[in-house]
């Protein structure tokens, strides 16, 4: 499986990547900053990462998960720094032959990310 992982303060603009002829399914997830956190109205969240380890762990998780859910490629971008309400904190795109492994990989990866990848929401603005 081809894996690309990017952690950056850049605004996330989901790539509309071309699809090769073996691909039948593209599943994506975008996590966006909501306007309230713990019932408080907010304008932004601040994210921080331990970048080398976060990238390494994401690679490893995706490699592990692809054994159970075979997919062609995964692209993950996580934004750090200050992210205004309505903008994306994370975008993941999975390409596979069929939709079932693409959905499964996407959902399982998000669960694992929230347990094991050293990225934090450190502040609300």
């Amino acid at each position: 499986m081809h894996i690309e992982v990017l952690i950056s303060p850049a605004v996330i603009t989901p790539p509309t990547s071309a699809v090769d002829s073996g691909i039948g399914a593209v599943a994506t997830f975008t996590g966006t900053v909501r306007g309230s956190e713990n019932d408080q109205s907010i304008s932004a969240l601040v994210y921080e990462a331990y970048q080398p380890m976060a990238e390494t762990v994401m690679h490893r998780l995706l490699t592990e998960l692809s054994a159970e859910h075979p997919c062609h490629s995964v692209f993950v971008q996580h934004r750090i720094g200050t992210i205004p309400v309505g903008e994306a904190a994370i975008h993941i795109a999975v390409q596979a032959k069929h939709r079932a492994p693409a959905f499964a990989l996407l959902a399982a990866f998000m669960d694992r990310l929230k347990q094991d990848v050293p990225i934090w929401k450190t502040d609300t603005l």
Binding site: Y47, M53, V117, I119
Partner: protein, 79 residues
């Protein structure tokens, strides 16, 4: 031994990195005891945080070497 602090651990200690004097291998329990001696408020993160070294989480029974760079990983909240 180099220790890195992120997120709430950095906020509590007020620093993102420090050198601590360690001359012999030590258990993660002893390591935490030493950290909390230096930064008493880290006690609040002890049970919820994990330690990492070399971009990998350390098992609870890991032996830490004086030359290791140890990272304190508070509960994560990415995504």
């Amino acid at each position: 031994m180099t220790v890195l602090y992120f997120a709430h651990a950095r906020r509590i200690t007020g620093i993102s990195q420090e050198e601590i004097p360690v001359r012999a291998p030590l258990s993660s329990t002893t390591f935490w005891d030493q950290l909390i001696q230096r930064h008493p408020d880290l006690a609040s993160l002890r049970t919820s945080s994990r330690l990492a070294c070399g971009n990998d989480f350390l098992p609870i029974d890991a032996v830490l070497e004086p030359t290791d760079e140890i990272v304190v990983i508070p509960p994560v909240s990415g995504g």
